[in-house]
Symmetry: C2
Subunit: 111 residues, 2 copies
């Protein structure tokens, strides 16, 4: 996750997951690594970016809204969500959004 | 920026800015602080979240696409964009997206 995700020409979808952690680290690191591995195996997965300071932000990219629904309902991911709510996260917000346009330095920021 | 942004009921818009820094810190910290201050003063601004590890991610939230266009064109912000491209960022990607739904722990993740 140390790179900027390479994504196709929009439109595509994104899940912005913003969280505040508890002090309970039990199993958290392993889960976080496993969830990235698992996400990468899902149909429609396009990429992921993640960073944490006080707030943690994980942005994943998906082909369409249906891919996101399937990922949310995936059995092992559901268990991680349950543990997240009960143990690891003091607070969080999930936002599902449709990417309409994107650009980088190659376009001079003109898009 | 140490909190999860409080945003209204969707739809609203978001700008996901993902970046890799250069080793040039000259003026960067001051610019970053100033740009958050300035963004908060813009019409249509709703909130901002930011974290950096290897990748830096700043997610800002806006009432509509027009607010984002105005912010992108704001004079002082344009100068920061120019310096960012030439000095501070080794690479970056800007993604503009429409938030269609969101949820937190209060809904049990059922949205």
């Amino acid at each position: 996750m140390a790179e900027i995700a390479t994504t196709p020409v929009p439109p595509y979808y994104t899940v912005i997951f913003t969280s505040l952690r508890t002090s309970d680290d039990d199993g958290y690191g392993e889960m976080a690594v496993r969830m990235v591995e698992l996400a990468q195996q899902q149909e429609g997965f396009l990429g992921i970016e993640s960073a944490r300071e006080e707030v943690g932000i994980t942005v994943s990219y998906w082909r369409d809204a249906e891919s996101i629904r399937r990922w949310k309902a995936q059995v092992e991911h559901r268990e991680a969500q349950r543990l997240g709510r009960s143990q690891w996260y003091a607070d969080y917000r999930v936002r599902v959004a449709r990417v309409e346009r994107d650009y980088g330095p190659e376009s001079g920021g003109v898009a």
